[in-house]
């Protein structure tokens, strides 16, 4: 049974200009001990999908449809009568069963509170530990994420930590209660390559040791190639293709996935031709295209793509893609 199952999730944001359809009919699942990568450009809805699942949407965000099941329990917004009930429930749920690692460790950590307090807080809130037990556990967590001399460091403030060390603290906080699912939102984007390598190595270890599932949101295809077992490609608020790492990298089906793979430089390849960028820019989700979200940038777009959202084509029990070109009646070019 899947650990997390998301079905037909849609989220909108009310803005002065109108409703932004940030997440449109997204379905996927994550199994225990598995790492799923969600890849997409900024504004593709990858972060908002996660915020919708974990109940951290901004106030103007509304989940308009969909069902989220975690470990057999329905945790959809529609299960609760009021927003307050939902928020109260999710507050207990987060940090216990699922935890999140954010992109920018400096905005996540409170700059005027000691590391100790910030690490002990989730422990004391979610378990019956007393102060000294929680402190012991905090030190253990700091050791686990590779922070040298934790006894000294636990007394310090976030500004005394470097970027990589701060991200380790954020990971330690996320790990505090052994969550079954860790959602990492661009955890290494703000870090340098060598520090990124350290943090990725750490996340990989956690996956192997802790048997927790990981959802990794990123725009860096190199990071997902290293870390993830399955990959979902998001575009214009929709998942356009989902498959194992090998499906996506070696047998991409969607024109956007292909385009994405064509426009990154592979340093292993010396005689690399010109990069082939995808022309144009992502769609405006205030008025998303009626049909396929990629239609305006797709070189192979057909008439039907403009008007009807593509059906899902299933290639194997792991590999799915939404594109009209793959429809059996499409004329092969």
């Amino acid at each position: 049974m899947a650990l997390l199952e998301v079905k037909n999730l849609s989220t909108e944001f009310t803005t002065a200009q109108g409703n932004v359809l940030a997440v449109r009919d997204v379905s996927f699942q994550v199994d225990q001990g598995e790492a799923l990568g969600i890849v997409g450009e900024s504004g593709s809805g990858k972060s908002q999908t996660m915020y919708s699942i974990i109940g951290l949407l901004a106030d103007n965000g509304i989940i308009t449809s969909g069902e989220v099941t975690f470990d057999g329990q329905n945790i959809s917004r529609s299960q609760f009568k009021t927003k307050k009930d939902y928020d109260n429930f999710m507050r207990q749920f987060r940090g216990n069963s699922m935890a999140m690692i954010f992109q920018d460790p400096m905005t996540f950590l409170n700059p005027v509170i000691k590391i100790e307090t910030q690490l002990v807080e989730p422990l004391m809130n979610h378990t019956k530990m007393n102060q000294s037990e929680a402190r012991e556990r905090a030190l253990e967590l700091m050791r686990k994420v590779g922070i040298p001399s934790p006894e000294k460091r636990i007394e310090q403030y976030p500004f005394e930590f470097s970027g990589g060390m701060r991200q380790r603290i954020v990971i330690a906080i996320a790990l505090a209660n052994n969550p079954k699912l860790i959602i990492a939102d661009e955890p290494t984007t703000a870090l340098d390559v060598t520090i990124q390598a350290q943090v990725l190595e750490l996340i990989d270890e956690l996956k192997v040791q802790g048997n927790s599932a990981i959802i990794m949101i990123t725009h860096d295809l190199g990071v997902v190639a290293k870390l993830c077992d399955r990959i979902a490609i998001m575009y214009g608020g929709k998942i356009v293709e989902i498959g194992t790492d090998k499906d996506i990298f070696y047998d991409p089906k969607h024109p956007y996935t292909k385009g994405l793979l064509n426009c990154i430089a592979n340093p292993e390849d010396d005689d690399e031709d010109e990069l082939r960028p995808i022309p144009g820019s992502p769609p405006d989700l205030l008025n998303p295209p009626k049909g396929c979200p990629f239609v305006d940038r797709c070189e192979e777009a057909m008439k039907i793509c403009k008007n009807y959202p593509p059906e899902v084509t299933v290639f194997s029990n792991t590999h799915q893609c939404s594109c009209w070109l793959l429809h059996e009646k499409a004329v092969a070019k």
Partner: protein, 325 residues
């Protein structure tokens, strides 16, 4: 000076005084410390390194936004430190810069036309406003924007489009050399490739030389003819990009390269990383010997005491005691 070098940097040092208060000990950040390299005509020289290694400071010193403490920068045969008046204006016209953040580097209250026209007015390139306007339209076409974008404001454009405006502004005065300071790191993947291709095309058409500063090693390798690797204010290795990538000499280059995530699951998952312990030391208190000695796995006693000098090894130069005899 080698024959066709358009830019030559010799023993360049740029320091910043960061002393706080009157009675405290003087604190100096050695942002760029004894860096030498040259950029040839029509060449792209890539400069890589992690944040805080001094690559941006080096770029800004070259365009004369900072004054170096010592060392020389020779551009088209002239020492830029001595430039004054007309010569300085001429230098500024030939040497342009593209900035990292396309949101911060364009004035939000000026239209695209005004932004691109401003350098032409400063350098007095065209006589009439009509000529300037025609040139702006042509530049917009070159960078892949539409002529009717001329009356719009930067806020109406996406990040990639803004970076194109920044490129058009740099091209407005027909420069010979452009310092590109992380021009793509703020952009989305599919847009990065558009901008990289655009820069390459422009280079071919106009015969430009680039100093391409970035931390994204795979893109730098793709666009550059030669690469320089910086660490803690020092240039530690320098050479043709394929050589540096496939046969790195300096232990830092080796570690940096092994840290790049390769966009290929089989290679990436099989690849053994040399995970560097620790972090970059503070540039206020750099190690006495080799800047990398605190994190280097091959460091010997000598590395902690004596600073290695740049030596020639085959096609490359490297600053490491391991390659000395």
């Amino acid at each position: 000076m080698s024959e066709n070098a358009i830019l030559e940097v010799k023993n360049l040092k740029t320091y910043f005084d960061v002393t706080k208060g009157i009675f405290t000990r003087k604190q100096i950040v050695k942002a760029v410390d004894d860096v030498s390299f040259d950029v040839k005509d029509n060449e792209t020289f890539g400069l890589v390194g992690e944040s805080g290694c001094g690559k941006t400071t080096l770029g800004r010193t070259i365009v004369k936004l900072y004054d170096p403490v010592s060392g020389s920068i020779t551009f088209q045969g002239q020492d830029i430190a001595k430039l004054k008046g007309k010569d300085l204006t001429k230098f500024r016209k030939d040497m342009q810069m593209i900035f990292q953040d396309p949101y911060a580097s364009l004035n939000p209250r000026m239209t695209v036309g005004e932004i691109i026209k401003e350098p032409m007015i400063i350098h007095n390139i065209y006589n009439t406003d009509q000529e300037r306007e025609d040139r702006v339209v042509e530049l917009l076409r070159i960078v892949g924007l539409k002529p009717d974008h001329i009356r719009r404001y930067p806020a109406e454009f996406s990040g990639g489009q803004r970076q194109r405006i920044g490129i058009a502004r740099a091209l407005a005065v027909d420069p010979k050399f452009i310092v590109c300071d992380e021009p793509i790191s703020a952009l989305d993947v599919s847009i990065q490739a558009q901008v990289v291709n655009l820069l390459k095309e422009i280079q071919k058409e106009m015969g430009l030389s680039y100093l391409f500063i970035a931390h994204d090693l795979s893109m730098v390798k793709h666009i550059s003819d030669r690469i320089g690797v910086m660490y803690l204010g020092h240039l530690v290795e320098c050479g043709p990009s394929n050589d540096v990538y496939h046969r790195p000499l300096h232990p830092y280059t080796t570690a940096l390269l092994s840290a790049i995530p390769i966009p290929d699951p089989d290679t990436a998952k099989a690849k053994r990383r040399i995970v560097l312990e620790g972090e970059i030391p503070s540039p206020i208190n750099p190690p006495a010997g080799c800047p990398f000695c605190t994190r280097c796995q091959k460091a010997t006693e000598r590395c902690h005491v004596e600073r290695p000098q740049m030596i020639q090894v085959g096609t490359r130069t490297v600053a490491c005691h391991l390659y000395e005899r």
